[in-house]
Amino acid sequence: MNVLAEVSGNISSIGYGLAAIGPGIGVGIVFAAYIQATARQPESASLTRTYLFLGFALSEALALFGLVLAFVFRSST
């Protein structure tokens, strides 16, 4: 058979790509909400900043798990 195109490597990177979708949306929502809250009530900016980083860090964690697992389950090649 004549091979025209070939993809080599490991499917774990695709797994990481899938794992990054949810946290990507989540982080976007967190920052959008912070911007909106600050635009509506500028004096609350310092009050909500802590929650901004908390929410951002918590949703980001899932993507980072995906990244680590992509390396854990890669093949030996």
């Binding site: 310092s46 980083f53 860090a57 980001e60 964690a61 980072l64 798990f65 990244l67 390396f71």
Partner: protein
């Protein structure tokens, strides 16, 4: 010859690139332990020097130390934990500065890798936070009271505890310390890997062209291989190669352009990494403070 250079360029980068040879005394002193000691020494010396002779009108160094301390005390300790949090401000500040120093090594020339890119170091930091908030909670509420507060949050109808208790248990005792360690590690690991991809990728793309190969990549790979044994400062490639930007030779122009774009991306990502370094230090400290606050709070 070009193949030889290509074979010497370790592309694509992998996990093995993070295991650097030891410098001295068997496997005791590596670049990572050296950088950690440097970061510790920096934090200690910085505060000692800044406060050796405190003035009412602060000098530059004292002002820097005071604003770093004030930033964490007011912005994190007071804000997250409350007035009770003032006694944690010194710990949180030194934690913040230490993580920041360790992270920023990832973009400083010659160092160019953060010790936090090895999971052992974040694990130790996360463990100290874990022990700290467990200790504070048990000290304040007693072991039974603390467990009851955490595992059986008041206000929920009792059948819900079948669902709630396992979730609360995994959150407080497993995922919280785990994510704390993994977040810091994965950010530094991924940051270094991205820099490797773009710098080494630039090399791979430039090597097939005769001119750039003879004048840029060949001498650099030679120098880098000698250098890597000691420092493994991968990004040092970038610093040297910047001078070679003018030397665009004949050959495959598209490849060369892609190579230079790759180096350009590496510079952009370096700046991005600097931001990530400070952000992750801040996030780690904020999360530590928030876990302490939860342990100290009276209600759920």
């Amino acid at each position: 010859m070009g193949d030889q250079v290509l074979a010497d360029t370790p592309f694509p980068p992998s996990v093995e690139d993070f295991y650097l040879p030891s410098i001295a005394f068997g496997s005791w002193v590596t670049k990572f332990s050296l950088l950690v000691w440097l970061a510790v020494a920096f934090v200690i010396i910085f505060f000692l020097v800044a406060y050796r002779n405190p003035k009412l009108v602060p000098t530059k160094g004292q002002w820097l130390a005071e604003s770093a301390y004030g930033f964490i005390r007011d912005g994190v300790a007071k804000e997250v934990i409350g007035s009770d949090g003032l006694r944690f401000a010194p710990y949180l500040t030194s934690l913040f500065l230490f993580i920041f120093m360790a992270n920023i090594f990832g973009v400083i020339p010659l160092a160019q890798i953060s010790p936090m890119a090895h999971i052992a170091y974040p694990i130790v930091l996360a463990l100290s936070t874990y022990v700290l908030y467990l200790y504070l909670g048990i000290k304040k509420h007693g072991l039974g009271g603390y467990l009851k507060d955490r595992l059986f949050p008041p206000g929920a109808p009792w059948p819900l505890y079948v669902l709630l208790t396992p979730i609360e248990f995994t959150q407080y005792f497993i995922t919280q310390p785990l994510t704390l360690a993994v977040r810091l590690f994965a950010n530094m690991f991924a940051g270094h890997l991205i820099l490797l991809v773009f710098t080494l990728g630039g090399f791979v793309l430039l090597t097939p062209i005769e001119f750039t190969q003879y004048f840029i990549t060949q001498p650099l790979t030679l120098a880098v291989r000698l250098f890597a044994n000691m420092f493994a400062g991968h990004l040092i490639l970038l610093v040297f190669t910047l001078g070679g930007f003018v030397l665009l030779g004949s050959g495959n122009i598209a490849l060369a352009a892609a190579g230079f774009i790759s180096f350009g991306m590496a510079i952009v990502m370096t700046l991005f990494e600097a931001i990530v370094a400070i952000l992750q230090a801040y996030v780690f400290v904020v999360l530590t403070a928030s876990y302490i606050q939860v342990s100290l709070s009276d209600e759920h």
